[in-house]
Every structure is written in C-alpha cells, then in structure tokens.
C-alpha cells in the first residue's frame, strides 16, 4: 500500500512481538461500540499517474492568472516569483521538518527565521518581529487583542477603509472577549481614514486604531498625523499592510509612529494559491515584547560558547502558559516566511526598491490611461501605490462581467463591500501587467463603456 510500507509478513512479525494473533485482537482494547466497522464511503484510491491526471483536470477547470489578464489585488497580489524561491523552499530539510523545538538539529530553520525577523523589522522600521501569524487578517486581529492587553482598555477602532475581510476577522477574534469594536469612517473625497472621525471616536477606553496602509482603496494614509492624535491619549496605532511591497517605497510605519505593524506577507515570494497559505507578519516595539503573540527566535550560545539560535520567550505561548498565553497560535506559516526571506534577499535592497518603483510607475500608467477613458474618473484623491479605485459611469459589476467575456479580469467591484460605491472598481497593477495588457484593457473598457452607455 502506498505510504504504509509494512508487508503482510512484517505485520505478522509485529503482531507476534506485541503478543496478539491478529489486528482485530489488538483492537480489542477499544470498546467494541466505538469501533467503525463499515467501509468509508470515499472514492477508491488511484495510482500516482492517475492521480496527477485527475488533479490536472481539476486545476484545468480553473482559469488562473497564468492564462488571463487580471487587475485583481485587494489583499492578494500577483507578483513574479524568482526561481530561487521554490527551488530553495523545496529543500526537504526545510519543508519536511517540524517547528524547531530541538535547536541542535534545526539551526537552519532557526537562523532563517532570525533573518526573517530582521528583514521584517528593517522593512517596517520596527524593533522586533515575530516568526509569523496565519495571515494578514488574523495578524490584525492578534494585534488588536495585543493592544487591548498592553493598554488594558477594551475599545478597538477600525478604519472603514481597512480591508473588509480584516475588519471581519478582527470582529471574529474579539467578539467573544466582549471588546468594543467601532468603525471610523473614511473620507469619501480622499479615500483615506477620516482624521476628524478618529478624533471624535476616541474615548478613554480606546486601546487602538487599526488602519490599512495603503488601505483597501490603495490610498496612502496620513500615519504621522494619526499617530500624533492617538499617542496623545495613550492609544496604539496599528498599521495593517496588505501590500508589503509598498514598504520598500513608502516611509516605513515605524518611522511614522506606528506601535504595531502587521500585514499580509504573500507578496513576498508566495503564490496566490487561491488565498493561502500566505503569512501574517507582526512587528512591534521592544517594550511590548512580552505581550506579543506567536513564536520568536533568539540568538544564544551552545555549550561551547558558539553562537546559535533557538525559540525563545516561550512563556508567552500556549504550550507553557495555556489559557494565559498571549495567543493560541502554535503551527504558524514557517515555510511561507522562508519563501519571503529567500524572495527578499534574492531581490535585495535595490531590487526591491526598483520593483516597488516599477509597480508604482505601471499603476500610474494605467491610472492615467483609464482617466482618459470617457466617463471614468478616479474614485479618490489620496496618493496611491499599486492599487487604486476608479468610478465608472455605469454599474461596476456589469462592466466587469462584460470585460471577463473579453478576457480581462478588470479588478474588483467595490459595491459588494461599500453600498455607496456601486460604480467603483478597485484595480491593482504589478510588474506582471505589461504595457500591452494595459493598453488593450483600456481600449476594451473604452469600447465597452461606449456600448453600455
């Protein structure tokens, strides 16, 4: 049998050693009424060759971004992944190992995580990073919960321009602990969080504000202004970054007063994978270390004084602290962060900065192109990175549907998430969108709008 190599003869040998006559006899130690005696009603097994064929069919009944021009972003980004990434994460010493509980034979994973922590800290300009959380949304939820612990206050403010799924996830995580979650509006003119709205929502019970940056509309937030307002009242600013490539271009949140920076790491070397696995990153100020959720790797020494790495500060974690832990997370997204480390170092500082500028330039190119299409105008005025919203003269869904028929995924209709924006779409442009694609897309849109209206 595949994956269970004991032969019948070997089973006999084992049964004899255990001292039972057959497998049924061995199971007699289990209550008879709790045993399952039927056959599982699942499809029969197949050979490896047939299996691959079957899954090729399944994959083939998707239409993935390798075969269509797409301007989808909204929390998951289509970036080019250098060949080094998959080649190196496929080293089986990495991908077939467990969490590095035994540091003496896990120095590879441990050093890679230590480096990952450093890279995240460098990009965010924060002091410390953990070893990862599940994804950007749950990282935002963990950050909010952490802010509640740090401030010992229970009010959580969410920017209305924060990714909707992030807001929902924060609610899911915090709902049971009866924290008070309130949304603050965004400015319909700029598409950024309404500073006045924040000011008026603040109370003595406010623990934190969570903003996206760039936010769900791609708008760059006024972090420094916000942090100024918040810090006056001892409130933490949590910055959630869905597109971390922006960190190479924009002034880092840590330099803008952020207290916790979380985000989605997928852009860094992880495939779209229909939503996962990605990884959530979290970077914090050193003073909050003991409230940080998740694993962290530290540098130490071995018995002979040689430098070495190990998991540390485990007393925050569930396996030691149980119900008093800073989080319940155990298995995290190790391999996805390894991919990120390989990705980031493969591009290096200049490569990453250049890539961010390419994304910016291309998005600006499309933005300009679309603005020239009759009836299309930018939905918001704030500066953007590689994602932006436009307002169409007709209902967005209608346009997107028609565009799909022409072979374009024209972005995301915002109406589903914001009642007030039924005509707006969110578009993302990365290095994967060529000029030719953008030209033909805007031509198609132009034509379509003519037809539709």
């Amino acid at each position: 049998m595949p994956y269970a190599p004991l032969t019948d003869k070997e089973r006999e040998k084992i049964l004899t050693r255990i001292g039972v006559t057959d497998f049924a006899a061995l199971l007699e130690g289990l209550p008879r009424w709790l045993r399952f005696n039927g056959d599982l009603k699942i499809r029969p097994g197949m050979s490896e060759q047939d299996l691959l064929g079957h899954f090729k069919d399944l994959a083939g009944s998707n239409r993935a971004l390798d075969s269509i021009v797409s301007f989808l972003g909204a929390g998951a980004y289509n970036h080019y992944i250098p060949a080094t990434v998959d080649s190196l994460i496929s080293r089986s010493e990495f991908f077939t190992s467990y969490t590095p509980y035994q540091p003496e034979i896990s120095q590879g994973t441990l050093q890679a995580v230590f480096e990952y922590q450093t890279l995240i800290a460098q990009l965010t300009a924060m002091d410390i990073s953990n070893a990862s959380l599940y994804d950007g949304a749950s990282a935002a939820a963990e950050a909010a919960a952490m802010a509640v612990r740090v401030t010992k206050r229970r009010g959580v403010l969410l920017s209305g321009a924060l990714h909707p799924a992030y807001r929902q996830t924060i609610r899911t995580y915090l709902q049971a602990s009866h924290d008070k979650i309130q949304e603050v509006p965004f400015c319909t003119e700029t598409g950024a969080t309404a500073v006045e709205g924040v000011r008026s929502a603040i109370t003595d019970e406010t623990a934190c504000l969570v903003v996206g940056h760039p936010n769900f509309f791609g708008s760059i937030e006024e972090l420094e202004e916000l942090s100024g307002i918040l810090h006056e009242r001892g409130i933490l600013l949590i910055v959630a970054v869905t597109e971390p490539l922006s960190l190479a271009l924009l002034k880092p949140p840590g330099a803008c007063g952020a207290d916790i920076v979380v985000g989605e790491g997928q852009s860094f070397g992880n495939s779209l994978n229909y939503g996962g696995p990605y990884f959530g990153f979290m970077a914090i100020r050193e003073k909050h270390l003991r409230q940080m959720p998740g694993r962290v790797v530290g540098k130490t020494r071995d018995s002979e004084g040689r430098s070495a790495y190990c998991l540390t500060f485990a007393t925050r974690e569930q396996h030691i602290r149980r119900e008093r832990a800073t989080s319940n997370i155990c298995t995290n997204q190790g391999l996805a962060t390894l991919a990120a480390g390989i990705y980031l170092t493969s591009l290096g500082r200049s490569g990453l900065k250049k890539l961010a500028r390419i994304n910016l330039s291309r998005a600006a190119y499309l933005k300009k192109k679309l603005e020239s299409v009759c009836g299309v105008r930018p939905a918001f005025s704030a500066p953007t990175f590689n994602e932006f919203a436009v307002k169409l003269p007709v209902e967005a869904n209608k346009v997107l549907c028609a565009l799909r028929k022409k072979g374009f995924i024209g972005g995301l209709a915002l109406g589903k998430y914001y009642e007030g924006l039924p005509d707006s779409i969110l578009l993302c442009v990365t290095e994967m969108n060529s000029r030719a694609d953008m030209d033909s897309f805007s031509a198609a849109l132009k034509e379509m709008l003519k037809e539709l209206g």
Binding site: Y3, R17, F36, G60, N62, A76, T96, I128, C310, C330
Partner: protein
C-alpha cells in the same frame, strides 16, 4: 541495514546581512515598456522613504550567494527525509512528492482568491469534495476548511459553540479540559471567551466519567477531549462523558489532531462528539515546513452548521459557489478561505489512498506504535501501559533518572545516533515524558534500529551517563543554552553591532 550516524563536513554560514556588499545586485526586475516615473512626481515626499535610505542594512547579495546561503542553512536541519522523526503528536510521516507537484499546478498556484466563481470551479469542487471526505472519515455532519491550523480550528469550533449558546440565550461560561490536553486547547478556550476548568485524567491515562461528573454542571459549555489523547490512548469513556454532558446541555469538543490512528477504525462523530478539528498537516501528510503552514478543518454536527465561518463552499446543481449568507456564522477567520494549497495536498493524499489505503495507514500507525511500545517497555518506564496504544506511546525517564540522566539528555543523545528526538516533557502528567510517534511510513528496519538505539542509550545511562549528559556530540552545535536566549534577548541582527562567532 546499516544506516548509522557519523560526522561529516558542514559549512557554517554568516547571517545574510553579513554577506551583503553595497551595490551588489541580485535579481533585478526591469521596467519593460512602461516608462519609469520618479516616485516624488506621484507621491508627496513626506510619504516616501528617502531615496538613499539604506533600510537598516537590508541585504544586497548575488543570486548565487542566496542559493548557497539557504542551501547551507538547510544542511543544518533535520527533516523527515533525513531520518526517523518520532516526534509524538506531530505525525512526522513521509510527505508524498506527487502532492508537491500537484499543489504547484498553475491552475491552483496562480488562482486569485477574488476571482469570479466561474473561473474557480476546480478549486471549489476540490474543497467541497475534501470537506465531504473529511466528514465521512470523521463522521461529522458539516465541515469547514477555513482554519489555518489546529489552534485556529479550536478557536473556530469553540466560537461556534459560544454562538450556539448565545443564539439560544444560554449563558455557559466554562470549558472542561483534561490536564493531558495540548496547550492550544485552553488558550483557544480563553480567546473564545470561556473559563477553563482543568480535570485530571484517571489512573489509566484516560478521562473517567466520575472525574468529569465532579466538575460538570450547567455552566459547562463544553468538554474538550483529545482522542486518541496525548498519551496515545483511546478515550474509551468518551461516549458516556458525552452523554452526561449532553444531558446538562453542554457540547462535546474533540481535538482530532491525532486522527492518524483512527481512519476507517473509529469515527469521532459516532461517539457523541459535536465539534472536532483535525490537522491536515498531520494525518493528511502535508509537510510541516519547519513550522507550518498547516490547516485545521473543523467538523460539526448539523445543529452547529449555521455557526461555521463564512464563506462556505456550497454546491448548486453542478456548480460550486462561495456563500456568505449565514447570518448566524461566527464570521471570518482570515482574509480568504484558509490554506488552500495545504488542502490540495491533503485531498491528493486521500484520493491516492482511498478507503482501504486510509485504513491501512491507520492500522500500520497503530502497529508501529505498539511495536515500539513492546520493544521499549522493558527498559523504559511506561506509566500507562494499555494495549493497544494508538498512534504513539509515552515513556517516562524515571529509571534513567536514577543515574542522573533526564529525558532532555536522552533526547539530545538520540541526535548523535541520527534520530530526531521524540516530543519531550509533554504531556506533563508523565514525569519526563518521551512521546514517541513512529507513524506508518517507517519501515520495520527503522523501527528495529530505533529500538536498539534506545536500548543502548538505556545501557549508556547506566554505564556512562556523562556521554548522555553532554550530548549531542555529532551536531554542528552543542547543547544550546535556551535560558540565555530569554535572559539576554537578541531577536534580530542590527547594523553596527559586530556579531561574535
């Protein structure tokens, strides 16, 4: 067979930041046909990094250096492919290579989570069928695949329980959790808003009805049982406990992370369990990746289905869709639908094996664990010796303690022989626990060699304990000072400081 640990050449490697040199280029992207626009023309300067920002020593290395760096790091690691990895409760079994190929098919890998459903029918079908199969394997009424790992599955399941009671206006604040439970259980219960009531396992290593009855009252929302539990034992009283609990209006949560021993042999859903989570990265063989990603599907009885997280995957006629119209749902657990690529691997595993294969897997897992149990119990204290143990068996270091040798020492010594140590000091109910889970993918020769090695370590403990106490000797670093890491925290590289070697 002559597998045997030796010492050989390894190359130590500096941190990648120390391999960096100014202006050294890695993989540079190109502008292509789109003209470069200076950022400052598009974004006010106050939002931008200054152009000469060195990003605190962010590395600049060549492509070849990156490859060599990570290759060397990998060579310091031990994986399932390196050798036997009897890490109890973690189910470190062979990760089929075909699943890696399948997960990388462009139709899966390049699929965007926001794509219209008409473009994602294959993915949705896969998830739907996987959920169906997992329901059948566990005997549950409905299944969500969204949780990213076991712990998130626990949270999901407990939030569903909380929502269930809330909707009914019932206020139950406590969750009973045995002392053998994994730490995630109480931690999840806490996040889900419950108070934790610990309960001790009985003298046979499993929970008894009477000890439950001692703490059971109307305030108990749920009992969280792990079955098979972390002692590797089947919770034989689970049904009576569930019945008693149900009588008081509580719900039974089962941590199904150890499902590896049960497939086709016993179904949690058939024993009064209302909610379970399972770990695809254990039972269903998706690789652990040095710490994830995992996937922790949650199965519930029909009555709890409305509370499962959204979106849910539904079948409408011949097509599949994502449906978020579940007003009672606990909401979302993450930005999208969980760790899809892990599900792909798990489903490939199930489809490759089919019902007989899965059953054979569990049978073999049990056989192998009992073979270890039988082979070692003469030399190592086995506090709970029940036949059969399920997926694993847990020894104590009591006898070796007499010679001043601890579980930690023996764990480190095992490395010298080319084995990954078992899980140690868990569960805490066993003194110096050594939790050994061989899994079904190991050959008999490997088990025999491991048993021989353990016995020779027992011999060493008696004859030359120092060699164990100073272990490991064969690894690139000696025993690591974990206390120091917390005492003198250094959690990142920083630019100016010179690293000591």
């Amino acid at each position: 067979m002559k597998e045997r640990a030796v010492k050989g050449l390894k190359i130590k490697e500096s941190l990648i930041f120390e391999r960096s040199a100014p202006d050294r280029r890695g993989i540079e992207p190109s502008y292509g046909a789109v003209p470069a626009i200076p950022p400052a023309d598009l974004i006010p300067k106050r939002f931008l990094r200054s152009p000469d920002d060195t990003m605190e020593g962010f590395p600049e290395v060549s492509e070849g250096d990156v490859v060599r760096h990570y290759t060397r790091l990998s060579q310091w690691n031990f994986g399932v492919d390196t050798g036997f990895y009897p890490l109890g409760s973690c189910t470190m079994k062979y990760n089929p290579r075909i699943n890696e190929s399948i997960a990388r098919l462009p139709g899966f890998k390049d699929l965007h989570p926001m794509q219209d459903e008409e473009y994602t029918q294959g993915a949705l079908r896969l998830m739907f069928e996987l959920a169906e199969d997992l329901s059948e394997i566990t005997g549950m009424g409905a299944m969500t695949l969204q949780p990213a790992a076991g712990a998130q599955g626990e949270l999901c399941g407990l939030l569903a329980i909380a929502a269930y009671f809330k909707e009914r206006g019932i206020n139950k604040k406590r969750v009973i959790i045995p002392d053998t439970a994994h730490g995630t259980n109480p931690a999840s219960a806490h996040i889900a808003g419950f108070d934790v009531t610990p309960v001790k396992v009985g003298p046979e290593g499993i929970l008894t009805l009477s000890s439950v009855l001692d703490v059971l009252d109307d305030d108990v929302a749920a009992i969280m049982l792990t079955n098979p539990n972390t002692l590797g034992l089947f919770e034989s009283h689970i049904k009576e406990i569930a019945d008693a609990l149900h009588e008081r209006g509580g719900l039974m949560y089962c941590d199904g992370a150890n499902l590896n021993a049960l497939m086709g042999i016993s179904r949690l859903g058939d024993m009064g369990v209302d909610v379970i989570h399972i770990n695809l990265h254990k039972t269903f063989s998706s690789p652990h990746g040095g710490g994830g990603p995992g996937s922790g599907p949650v199965g519930v009885i029909k009555a709890l289905e409305p509370y499962l997280p959204v979106p849910r995957i539904v079948k409408k006629g011949d097509t599949f869709a994502l449906d978020s119209e579940y007003p009672l749902s606990i909401g979302r657990l993450g930005a999208f639908y969980g760790n899809f690529a892990v599900m792909v691997r798990a489903y490939a595993y199930i489809r490759r094996l089919g019902p007989e294969g899965l059953k054979r897997v569990s049978e073999t897992a049990i056989l192998n664990a009992n073979y270890i149990r039988a082979g070692l119990k003469e030399r190592f204290e086995l506090p709970f010796d029940h036949v059969p143990c399920m997926h694993e068996c847990v020894f104590s270091d009591k006898r070796q303690n007499e010679h001043g040798v601890s579980t930690l020492d023996m764990a480190k010594r095992l490395m010298d022989y080319g084995y990954h140590p078992p899980t140690i000091y868990f569960p805490t109910v066993v003194h110096g626990a050594m939790m050994i889970e061989p899994t079904e993918t190991e050959s008999l020769e490997t088990l025999d060699n491991f048993i021989k090695t353990m016995i020779s370590i027992a011999d060493e403990a008696e004859s030359e304990p120092e060699i164990i106490k100073n272990a490991p000797h064969n690894t690139i670093v000696g025993r690591i000072d974990e206390a120091r890491a917390a005492r003198k925290p250094c959690l990142r590289w920083t630019e100016p400081k010179e690293e000591s070697s």
